[in-house]
Subunit: 259 residues, 2 copies
């Protein structure tokens, strides 16, 4: 049986989603919980490899059980898993998916949000949950720059140096900046993202607000494919994976994720 | 010089406000920061002794410097202190108060909020910040019970057993329950609170929603002065000190705290 889990987590205490030698990962906690529920190790595959300190509101992962595993109704898997997970990770829902379903390869669209707390004095309740940026940002100027980034481009300039990905073309479906009081949220959706791409896109929008770049410089930054032309990589703490979509056109294949 | 600091903190990592042997306190962190700023130990006096795990949005404390301490403009004290405080504690503002001012004895009104996340599945981002209560609560019934608690009463039934306070009469100015989506907030204001009183008041309102008590039972619970007749002491994680007022009638004495 293959279950699709929708998971939310506060990434602060973890070395990221993926199992690593030097830290506790989200995946490791999920594997332990699944083994406690099903009485044997169960392969768990995630939709993404979020970095250390990055959060998720809508992470997707599959959990595969064997033929001899206890049969648990799909919607009860979430409840059972939560009994064995720490308080900063929770399975929000669970459903059955076809054997051939792959939570990473089958992704059609991913959405991230980057949260900037734009106020002189930091808020203790946002520590590790938003990037505290004390100087006033201009969300209108950031939105002007964002327009140039939407579309299909070679985003090599927006990838962490050292990444070994060779195809650096991605499509950004939408990129927008919204201010609500002191909180600025950058929301970006696309068919996939390069390593650190959302954090570098956000750093670049901040550079435009700060006057280090203009909105009209963006096409040249993209064309340069030069990491040093884009903005800084803003800290992981502000980044949230907010939506993962498996929709295929208009068909409803039984595991389509609705908002 | 005597400064009045307005402080917010996430209480999760601390043993409470007051310095204790078995844990790190908010007061200890404030004292260390003050010593780093002023180059010598400075007495710090808080408005309240919040418990382990309790949060504050508007904690007040005075910081006294000696005649030989550096003179720092009042509004810059907050900025200077924040450079030496951990990310889960922040001084939001600072001002000068008269020598005779006392941050605890001069309090006229205190407001607390208790936050209940009332939804079947817990939210990782509210871990340690709200009480997760999975069964649906009836905020209207809780408000009916709350009305009986407002006023001047002997609240002995709502004080943790073992407390050595002898005068257990307090005045509750207002007590209300508001639901916003899945979050229920109990807001209570009064001239002072007994040990664990807000948490026991909230536990009692929950007992009414659960049908273990009726709203009309409340006067008898108060009259009994019997701790066992009131509800449970709900966990510290949902409790926030949200407002401390030093207002004296209509006079504005220069350090009046405005909302």
């Amino acid at each position: 049986m293959k279950y699709l889990l929708t998971i939310s987590y506060d990434g602060r205490r973890y070395c990221g989603y993926q199992v690593q030698k030097n830290g506790v990962s989200i995946q490791e906690m999920l594997c332990k919980a699944a083994e406690a529920v099903f009485g044997r190790p169960c392969p768990i595959t995630g939709c993404s490899r979020t970095d250390s300190g990055v959060h998720a509101l809508d992470f997707k992962a599959t959990l595969e059980t064997g033929d001899d595993s206890p049969r648990i109704p799909a919607d009860k898997v979430a409840v059972a898993m939560n009994c064995h997970l720490p308080e900063d990770i929770a399975v929000q829902s669970s459903c059955v998916v076809p054997e051939g379903f792959h939570p990473r390869y089958d992704v059609k669209e991913k959405e991230y949000q980057y949260r900037i707390h734009n106020v002189p004095t930091r808020d203790p309740f946002l520590a590790g949950r938003a990037y505290h940026y004390p100087r006033k940002l201009d969300e209108n100027e950031m939105n002007r720059a964002a327009e140039w980034l939407v579309g299909t481009h070679d985003f090599a300039a927006f990838m962490a140096s050292g990444s070994d990905v060779t195809d650096t073309v991605r499509t950004i479906y939408s990129l927008g900046v919204v201010r609500e009081g002191d909180m600025i949220t950058v929301t970006v959706s696309g068919n996939g993202f390069l390593y650190n791409m959302v954090r570098i896109l956000t750093g670049t929008l901040i550079a435009v607000s700060e006057g280090k770049l203009t909105a009209e410089d963006i096409p040249a930054v993209i064309a340069s494919k030069d990491r040093s032309r884009a903005g800084i990589t803003v800290p992981a703490c502000g980044l949230y994976l907010t939506r993962v979509t498996y929709e295929k056109g208009d068909s409803d294949d039984g595991f389509r994720e609705k908002e």
